[in-house]
Amino acid sequence: MLANLQKLNNVLDNVKPRHIFSVGGFDISSTVITTWCLMVLAIVAILFLTRDLKVRPTSKRQLVLEYFVSFIDNIMEDTGGKEAKRYTPLVGGFFLSILILNLAWFIPFFRPPTMDYNLTFALGIMVFFISQTLGIYHRGIKNYFKKFIYPTPILLPINILEEFIKPVSLSLRLFGNMFADEMLVVIIGILVPLVLPVPIQLLGLLTAGIQAFVFSLLLAVYIGEAMGVEE
């Protein structure tokens, strides 16, 4: 028991990404390696799934794909109107990649790359640039800047701050949820190594799905906002 409690002291070392090697000053950590492996897996899986599609679906796998696409389509239509449907591939791509990254937890010896704040913050920066660019593209440069002084010019600093807080809170949410889940399982695994960690890790299945859904839902909301549906 005492040895177990000793392990609790450096529990954070257990969940940190490990440094593998460096290329020209850049550190390649275990997060990056895991992401590469998952990329290969995902590309192979998607190539297999999208082989010989038919206009009238006869196979189960095409029905699953079409269900997924219409699911994202519905989200986009709810948040941004009919015109937002052209960004379905973007949001669907985010959803699938985050889901795959989260579910990497259930492959033995893998830890989910979304547990590393560097990765989720990169996703957050991508969301920031996507929403700003689409805002300029759809509203024009004049209306885009008008958005910042929308009710009154007094709110200008708050409006600008809001745009910068969005990606930070988005990435912190994904990171925090996955990190807290993993932390819980590691701590319970140290204290009670028998049976108990399994149902708690299965709870992670729920978290992975919900977090991927929430991330893509918020991305859809930001895109809809950038396209100017609220007026």
């Binding site: 954070l12 989200i75 709810d78 809170s169 912190l172 949410r173 990171f175 925090g176 949820n177 990190f179 807290a180 919900i210 859904f213 929430v214 839902l217 918020l218 909301v221």
Partner: protein
């Protein structure tokens, strides 16, 4: 001292967001029971608002980790 700081940070933030999420779920459940045909729309909004409340607790979780590792 750090033990107390970390414990209180998590406890207070969990307290607040638990009350908030309970109220939100209560409202959504009542709405769904009254109008089952609107449940899909309500569920999406509920998840969105739950995520926003959840994130405040997670902010304090991150702060707690920062205190714990003495950064």
């Amino acid at each position: 001292m750090n033990f107390f700081a970390v414990g209180f940070a998590i406890a207070f933030s969990a307290f607040g967001s638990a009350i908030g999420q309970g109220l939100a779920s209560k409202g959504a459940l009542e709405g769904m029971a009254r109008q089952p045909e609107a449940s899909g729309n309500i569920r999406t909004t509920l998840l969105l608002s739950l995520a926003f409340m959840e994130s405040l607790t997670l902010f304090s979780f991150v702060i707690a980790i920062l205190i714990w590792t003495k950064i």
